[in-house]
Amino acid sequence: MPPVIKRWPLSLLALAVTGAAALAQVQLPERYRIAGQLRWGADAEGGAPFVYTDPAKPDAGEVGFEVDLAQALGERLGVPCRRVQAGYESLVQVLDRGDCDVVLNGFEPTPARRPLVRFTRPYYIFQQQLSVGPDVTGVNGLGDLAGKRVGVLGQSASHQLLREQYPTIEAVIYESSVTAYEDVVNGRNAGSLADLPIARALRPLFPRLVDVGEPFGEFYYCMAVRLGDADLQQALDDAIGQLLANGTLERIYRKWNMWVPAEQRLGDAAVAAMFTRDHSGAAQDGDAPAMAWGEVWLLLFAGALRTFGISVTSFAIAVVLGLCIALLRLHGPPPLRIAAIAYVEVLRGTPILVQMLLLYYGLGSIKGMQLPAEVAGVLGLALNYAAYEAEIYRGALSAIPRGQREAALALGLTGVQTLRHVVVPQALRLSLASSTNDFIALFKDSSIVMVITVVELTKQYNMLANATGRFIVLGLLTSGIYLLMSLPLAYAARRFERALDRDAA
């Protein structure tokens, strides 16, 4: 053996081996090589520090530590990685449908998800951070928040932690961490629990938030592939191993100010194998988590009750408001007529989703205007549907023959009495069919309140289905519940209409 080799220190030897490994590409399964790309699913909404567009540098395109990670992975795998937008809570479904090949989005291997997908070795270790509003005092940890509202990202490790370890805390589910923090700042919620990287990345947006206690726990981000993609998981595991060994991961994490000493443990065999499935296991029906049907029914029933309450209340307001607007438009003084026209055009011409977000988050950012979520939901639906109702009533009021009004006036009734006792009752009968239609539409549209954290029937279904993967069974069940509620209503309206027809025939 030449002396020169003998003198090589061990560390240099290791470096040489690692360097060789760094040069060698990981063997990607052939189908992905042929496809020429690997599509990774992630949600860029409120996505810092994972994947997001920096408002200060919109030209830079999407940035984030996972964007860097995906690029590094692509170099290891020999194909470019392209991101596919998907809602955070639907990542598993998007993966299952084949719309992406791998989930890479701060995705935690929660017990609920483990039977549904195949997880890679962890690529990041993190902790949880509790933050509270500036006016909250006497809170030193989650233990002090019993009975209080705490915002979490739906289907996240934070959500799971609250559910399992702090059942007395009311977990309020958000689809974005930004809105979860917003509701702490405006006082709707006592606090928000989030992954530390999220807490750190979003802190500049919410300088008034206060972190409570030290970060705690140990949690992992893993990538996820379809159950049948064992070979892709293997390739990704290998690629992560190489990025770890050649220092790329550390470089990326340091760049994003996310490197903590705990990351050194990513290389431990025990950590690497933590969420690895038995590789022989393909997707099996038996893998779906067992469902506690009693609890499922209870949750769906609670959701249905809320949907019913929200729909009935908001429609009652919409009918009264819509009628007032229609009457103002037809009989009001000119300025109010213009206001009524403007109301209808604005509310009909803008998406209800935007109106709902404005009402809840927009208005919520003004001091003293923090409507509770359910109130904002009812109000949002009522204000929007009032515009449609107003148009229905305007048409019906205009359709009442002039002679009816003249006959009432000739008897000496005042204008208001004429409307109240003669014109409006007839117009309401005339508009019954259209109004019933509108109510059934509102009934289904009421699911939109889920964007402002209200857990009604559709949201409950969404959460249950995401947790169990039983989309079909639960979907049919949920549809059945909707039908059970809307069919009797349609039937009652039809009977009422027929009774009126008998009088009028």
Binding site: A410, D503, A505
Partner: protein, 218 residues
């Protein structure tokens, strides 16, 4: 007594009548006839201010409505005038969502503050007068034209008007129904109720009129 003094009515650029002086004698039946477009219905509608006049004064005894009143004041006086006059339309204009009884009692309940019992009694009385007492619970859609017009007369009578205005009350009716309605008008005339009727039917005019007004063709 309804009096029109120097009343002018214009429609668009056209003058229907100019500086007209008419009064309708109490307890008598006055019939206004004339060709289509002569303004006879408009004249009747001026009497309860469903149309406004351009000049002159419309009066019911001391209640005067000169032309050109501000809207609020005109509205107040017109409503007062309408509460003392009854009107029957060619097309009946019964309220389809109310039963015959409720059609008849709506105005007395709202305007005279009649209790339900008293209102029902008054309905019974006026429906008896027009021979429609048995139909009190029916809805207008279930009535023939002649029945509808008789209910419309009962509805106007329920307010105990000082004058009953009838605008072509039989024009939309078949001969049999016409006979029923004419019989009612005749019985009201016999009871001394002041009536002003517009018709384009000369025979009807002749047979019912205590006093006949023929609108000139302009």
């Amino acid at each position: 007594m309804i009096t029109l003094r120097g009343v002018t009515k214009r429609y668009g650029g056209r003058t229907l009548f100019e500086r007209l002086d008419v009064q309708f004698a109490p307890g008598r039946t006055t019939v206004i006839t004339g060709r289509s477009g002569s303004g006879k219905s408009t004249l009747l509608r001026l009497c309860n201010q469903l149309e406004r006049h351009d000049e002159g004064t419309v009066a019911l005894d001391a209640l005067t409505i000169p032309a050109g009143l501000p809207h609020a004041e005109w509205h107040r006086r017109a409503t007062a005038l309408r509460r003392r006059t009854g009107m029957v339309f060619q097309g009946y204009h019964l309220f389809p969502h109310l039963s015959v009884r409720d059609n008849v009692t709506l105005a007395p309940r709202l305007l005279h503050g009649l209790a339900p019992d008293a209102a029902a009694a008054r309905a019974q009385q006026v429906l008896d007068l027009v021979g429609m007492a048995a139909a009190a619970d029916r809805f207008p859609a279930r009535l023939s034209g002649g029945e509808s017009q008789r209910v419309a007369i009962a509805r106007a009578l329920a307010m105990e008007p000082e004058v009953l205005l009838l605008d072509e009350p039989t024009s939309a009716l078949d001969p049999l129904s016409t006979a029923d309605v004419v019989a009612v008008i005749r019985s009201l005339r016999a009871r001394g109720i002041t009536q002003v009727m517009v018709t384009h039917n000369p025979e009807l005019a002749q047979s019912l009129a205590d006093h006949l007004i023929e609108m000139p063709v302009r």
